[in-house]
Each structure stands twice: as structure tokens, then as C-alpha cells.
């Protein structure tokens, strides 16, 4: 498809916020189970869903647009059936969606994925803010967000739990980041990329009208040729890491139910715990 925008640095006169949200289609890992006899994954009937963290990313984009004006573009990299998550995005109010799909992208690890998504964002052009979920629930790497920011040469704000201020004119954003032991308030220049945690908002549900509109929408596909990628940096060829072995985690032993009257069971439990010497 043809190029729609200008380079990533946009005209200073524009005050609206141009946002790109990255969404990954993932298997609902709740349903992924191991067959204990064959030690393989049972995938039958496993639904594909939008990565839950990405729904917070999309909601934050929509809230930002409602407050400041602007456009929300959503991209998803994956096989053709990933259009489902893009339809969901349209149904809740995304302005434009693109499926980033090409056999040449297959087998990408986080380095190649981040490169491909960054090239797509450059191709969209004029972007002020990129929003991703903190991580995807299938791979749990949390590496693609920082990877995209680094490829684009823009600051990264990870684990964001609150956006306190966005000022496109002054090219400034202030966010709160959720760390292990507290919250850090950080100021950054724009354009920037942020990854968000669940605490940031409550994603809206699509309206009936939105669902109808999305169902009819034609979703454009962006291919390797469109975004002018270096073919040595995409797909399996552009990936430094590869999966050597997949196996089942060691089954957790246990399942000992302490039976009897509580007046006996509770002291038994305390004995067992005190024996571990972790209680000081």
C-alpha cells in the first residue's frame, strides 16, 4: 500500500497528538494446558485474544485523543488472522489500523519484531507518542517496547501507571512509573514511547455501532516492501536468538491437604513452616 505520512518529526504547528498503539494477538494462555500423558500443549479450542496489556495501551491512546485531539493509529504484526484484534480496536474507536504481515516477518524474535514495528511507525510518520502494553502474556519479554523506542531514537517510559501531563506544543510529557518499591514521576521530551501497566485505566467496551462499522472495514496490510526494511534485520534472518528446546515445566509436587480438626491442623502447619527456618 502507499505511504500515508511524513517522517517521524512533524510540523511544529500541529497541536493534536498523533498516537500509534502496538497490539499483539496472543493465545489466551488461560486455556493453554499441557497434556500430562504426551507432555505437549493442548491447543484445541484455545481462543486468540488481544494481549490484555495492549488494551490498556489502546484505552490510554483514546483517552489522550479525547482530551487533546488527534489521531489513534493501531498496528499489529502477525499472521492474517491478527485482523481480529484490529477490528476490535476499530470498534472501540481507533481511527486507522494496519496489519503488519508478510511471510518475511515470520520467526522474528524481539529484536527483529521491534525493528519491523519501528519501521512501520516511521512509515506512518509524524508520530508524537507510541503506546505499548508493558509486555505480552505469551512471551512475557517486555523487550519490544524499549526495542521500538531505541530503533526510533526516542525516549522510552516503561511501566507507566499514570499520564500526568502531555504538552505537544512544548514537546513534553510527565508520567508516573510503577516500580517495585514505589512510583517514580518522570518527565520526558516528545516524541516518546511508553509501555503501560494495568493500573492506568479501565478499557471501554465497543459500542454496537462500533462493532458494525468494524465488521465492514477493510483492513490494510503493510508488507516488508511498503516499509522499506533491510531484509537482514527482519524475520528469522534478523533474529539473534532461536528456540533450541521446548519442554513442560517440572510438575509441582505437593497437593498435601492437612486433614483433621483445625485445632490440630493449624499447629501441624505451623510446625512444618517453623521447620523451614524462613520465619524469623
Amino acid at each position: 500500500m502507499s505511504k500515508s505520512g511524513s517522517p517521524i518529526i512533524k510540523d511544529d504547528k500541529e497541536e493534536n497528538v498523533k498516537i500509534v498503539v502496538c497490539i499483539k494477538q496472543v493465545p489466551d494462555t488461560t486455556d493453554v494446558k499441557i497434556n500430562p500423558e504426551t507432555n505437549t500443549l493442548i491447543r484445541e479450542g484455545v481462543a486468540s485474544i488481544s494481549n490484555p496489556f495492549d488494551e490498556f495501551a489502546l484505552e490510554e491512546a483514546l483517552l489522550t485523543k479525547e482530551k487533546h485531539g488527534g489521531e489513534v493509529h493501531v498496528i499489529s504484526m502477525g499472521p492474517p488472522q491478527a485482523i481480529e484484534v484490529l477490528k476490535n480496536a476499530l470498534a472501540v474507536g481507533a481511527d486507522k489500523v494496519y496489519l503488519v504481515s508478510d511471510r518475511a516477518f515470520a520467526g522474528a524474535d524481539t529484536l527483529a519484531t521491534a525493528y519491523t514495528l519501528a519501521k512501520t511507525i516511521e512509515w506512518i510518520g509524524g508520530v508524537d507518542l507510541v503506546i505499548c502494553g508493558k509486555q505480552a502474556i505469551d512471551g512475557d519479554t517486555a523487550q519490544v517496547g524499549p526495542g521500538i523506542a531505541t530503533r526510533l531514537g526516542i525516549p522510552q517510559l516503561t511501566y507507566v501507571s499514570k499520564v500526568k501531563e502531555i504538552n505537544v506544543e512544548k514537546k513534553k510529557i510527565v508520567v508516573e512509573r510503577l516500580l517495585e518499591d514505589g512510583r517514580e514521576v518522570m518527565e520526558s521530551t516528545l516524541p516518546a514511547l511508553m509501555t503501560v501497566v494495568k493500573d492506568i485505566n479501565e478499557p471501554r467496551l465497543p459500542s454496537l455501532l462500533g462493532i458494525k462499522k468494524a465488521a465492514k472495514a477493510q483492513i490494510p496490510t503493510v508488507t516488508a516492501k511498503d516499509i522499506c526494511v533491510d531484509e537482514n534485520r527482519i524475520g528469522l534472518k534478523g533474529s539473534p536468538t532461536w528456540v533450541w528446546k521446548i519442554f513442560s515445566p517440572e510438575a509441582r509436587g505437593g497437593g498435601e491437604i492437612l486433614k483433621g480438626e483445625l485445632t490440630e491442623v493449624v499447629p501441624t502447619l505451623v510446625n512444618k513452616l517453623m521447620d523451614m527456618k524462613f520465619i524469623k
Binding site: 515470520a106 529484536l111 494495568k198 533450541w244 498435601e256
Partner: protein, 399 residues
């Protein structure tokens, strides 16, 4: 481009490969297995095919770098608010094993403002060399100056392996560094060892919410091999204050004006113990019923010096704030003892706590899935059991 080839002549139609695919890319068509565009060339099906009908054709990766120029195991010494993170010491402990297997040195990589004491600590925990960059710009962790410092050091000294803690800081940092130097990075590892034949780092990590484990390797034309490693997976090594190490100092090629972010404020969490560092966690779930009832959990946690956790159900009901959430959309924890009260134990919750050493489950419902993974289970009303447990512990601990 890579190809997964299924030889229709050899395929016996046994369907063994179908469930082996983590991505659901295989199906049966007219009695033989076929692959679709969901294939990521992971190779899981190749190994399970009993008749060897599946082959994975990969592009030849020409070795374009001199792998032998890359030496030594490096550990990023992470610190926050005046204290080195325990995970950095744990990594020095495991880094020692890797360095011994490779016959190379173990080194620390340390950034900050006036961090001599931390460099000494890294030596005491086993680093033979510590590469130090000091500058007021590096006083607190920020991606720009830290990544600039690391990228310059790595390009100059060429380590073979670089390890980071899989903390918020380590994951923010490693993602930027690996992308800049275009190296492989494996996230959140729970196992690290050396393939002695190929002298390669084997990085094992959970995926799909902990339902499968994957061992990841780096192609030989990418170095260093980099990983973030989950805290509390490797034991703390012994500290030896008499050890001597070399400190190598380098300047930071970045000024404050070049840094695009500023830390305006840090607000410490209200809880005394945070979930990630906690040795003991007491968690409450749907069975707690309301926000006020969390005091039952807090009392037991307070007595044990434990952190307070919660299931998604409790957080989504507004009974307790999100920073307490354990599980797939919350935090992953690995305490010595995890006490789950009124938590049924959904797959998502388990993904965040399944690797705790000891799991204690207290639940009314004997069928709750949490009992299947609990080391010790008590079937009963948490509002009866938890106070009894508290009183019994009080008595034993003399508090």
C-alpha cells in the same frame, strides 16, 4: 527465508505433531500434516515426529564476527536508593559458575555517582574486575545515560555474556542496550548454563504463562549473549570481604543536556515490604469479601514481616490497590513461603506465584485448583483459619 517442510510421502498421519506446536500452526489435511502461516519456525514439531517427516530449513547464518574476540561474563550491578539489588549478587554467584565453565573472568558493570562502596561489594561477591563509570548524570537510573555508558563499555571490551536482573530497571535497560548493539536478549530467565561442547549460553525461561519452558540460544554471529534473569532464582553466593579485584574506570560520553528524561519525584510505596523482595507473602483473594477484611491478611503479614499480595479478583473489586496484584497481569513473585487465603488459584494467578518454594493454601472449596499446587492445604473458612494461624505463630514466636 526459512521453511518448514513436511514430506507428504513420509508423514504417517499420526497427528503427534499437531499438539506439539505452541502456535497452533499445524493441522491435518487429507490425512497428512500441513503447516500454515502461524508457524514461527521454532522447531518443536521436528523433534516429536516419530517418522522424521518434518525438517526445518533455516537460512545459513554466515559467521561475520570474530566470536573469539568476545570474552568474559559480565553482570550489571543494579542499585537503587543507595542499595545494590540482591539479584545482582545472585547473578554474580551464577556468573561465577558460567565463567568457570568457560574458563574466563567474571566482571561487574557499575554506573552511578560515587559508587566505590558498591564496586567493593561486587568484588566481595566474586567479581574479578569491575568496570565503573561515575558521573552526576548517572546518579539515578535513567535509560539514556545508562544505555550510553553500557553500549560504550560493551563495544570497547567485548564481553561474551552480559547478565541483568529481570527487574523494572534491568528490563528497561537491557532492552535498550541489546537493541542498540543488535545483540540477542532473552527475557526473564530462570535457568542459565553453558553448552560445554559449543561453549554457548543456554537460557531457559517460562513462556505462555508458565505453561511451557523454552531454552533459547544465540546465533554465533551475534555477541554478546545477553539475558535478564528473574530475582531469587539463583542462591546468594557467600560474601568474602577479603577478596581483591581490579577497578577499571571509564568516562561517560554524555552530558546532562543530552539526557531526554528527568526524574521529578519518587514516592515510596506505602507498604513496608515489597512483593518482589519479600521472603514471605500473605495473599488474599475473592474469599476476602471486602476491603476491610484485608486486615486479617495484613495482621498475619505484619507478624511474619511478610508482604501483602492479592489476586486479580480482589484488585478488580477495588478491595486493594494494583501494586499488590500477583499473577499474569500483576507481578511475578518467588518467595520462600506464599500463603494464599481465599484464592481459588486460576492459571493466571498461578503464573505469578507457582515457583514459590512453599505454597500454603487456605480455602473453603476443597475443589479449588490452588490445592493442586499447594505444598500444604487447609480446607476451611479463612476467617477462622487465618486468625488461628496468627495466634499459633504468635505463641511460637513469643510475640
Amino acid at each position: 527465508m526459512a521453511k518448514l517442510i513436511i514430506d507428504p510421502e513420509t508423514c504417517s498421519g499420526c497427528e503427534t505433531c499437531i499438539p506439539s506446536c505452541p502456535f497452533g500452526a499445524l493441522s491435518m489435511k487429507e490425512g497428512i500434516a500441513v503447516v500454515d502461516e502461524k508457524c514461527t519456525y521454532c522447531g518443536a514439531c521436528v523433534d516429536v515426529c516419530p517418522v522424521s517427516a518434518i525438517t526445518l530449513e533455516k537460512d545459513e547464518k554466515a559467521v561475520t564476527i570474530d566470536t573469539s574476540a568476545y570474552k568474559n561474563v559480565w553482570v550489571f550491578i543494579e542499585h537503587e536508593r543507595g542499595k545494590v539489588s540482591n539479584v545482582s549478587f545472585e547473578l554474580l554467584g551464577q556468573g561465577r559458575n558460567l565463567a568457570n565453565d568457560l574458563g574466563c573472568q567474571l566482571c561487574g558493570m557499575l554506573f552511578g555517582d560515587k559508587v566505590d562502596d558498591f564496586a567493593k561489594e561486587a568484588v566481595a561477591y566474586g567479581a574479578e574486575k569491575v568496570y565503573v563509570i561515575e558521573s552526576p548524570v548517572l546518579k539515578e537510573y535513567r535509560t539514556d545515560p545508562y544505555a550510553c555508558a553500557a553500549v560504550n563499555l560493551i563495544r570497547k571490551y567485548k564481553p561474551e555474556i552480559v547478565l541483568f536482573g529481570a527487574t523494572t530497571q534491568g528490563r528497561d535497560f537491557a532492552g535498550c542496550v541489546a537493541t542498540t548493539i543488535e545483540a540477542g536478549l532473552t527475557a526473564d530467565c530462570t535457568g542459565l548454563d553453558i553448552d560445554m561442547e559449543k561453549k554457548q549460553l543456554r537460557q531457559t525461561r517460562p513462556a505462555f504463562g508458565g505453561n511451557i519452558m523454552a531454552t533459547i540460544l544465540d546465533y554465533p554471529n551475534y555477541r554478546p549473549q545477553m539475558s535478564t534473569v528473574r530475582p531469587k532464582v539463583f542462591p546468594m553466593p557467600a560474601r568474602d570481604g577479603s577478596k581483591k579485584g581490579e577497578i577499571i574506570r571509564e568516562p561517560l560520553p554524555m552530558t546532562e543536556e543530552q539526557v531526554r528524561t528527568k526524574v521529578l519525584e519518587f514516592v515510596k510505596g506505602a507498604e513496608a515490604v515489597n512483593l518482589v523482595d519479600a521472603e514471605i507473602i500473605v495473599s488474599g483473594g475473592r474469599g476476602i469479601g471486602n476491603g476491610e477484611n484485608f486486615k486479617v491478611i495484613r495482621e498475619l503479614a505484619g507478624l511474619l514481616g511478610a508482604a501483602v499480595g492479592a489476586s486479580r479478583a480482589a484488585v478488580d473489586s477495588g478491595w486493594i490497590s494494583y501494586e499488590h496484584q500477583v499473577g499474569q497481569t500483576g507481578r511475578t513473585v518467588r518467595p520462600r513461603i506464599y500463603i494464599a487465603c481465599g484464592i481459588s488459584g486460576s492459571i493466571q494467578h498461578q503464573a505469578g506465584m507457582k515457583t514459590s518454594d512453599i505454597i500454603v493454601a487456605i480455602n473453603k472449596d476443597p475443589e479449588a485448583p490452588i490445592f493442586k499446587i499447594a505444598t500444604y492445604g487447609i480446607v476451611g473458612d479463612l476467617f477462622t483459619v487465618v486468625p488461628m494461624l496468627r495466634d499459633e505463630l504468635k505463641k511460637r514466636l513469643g510475640r
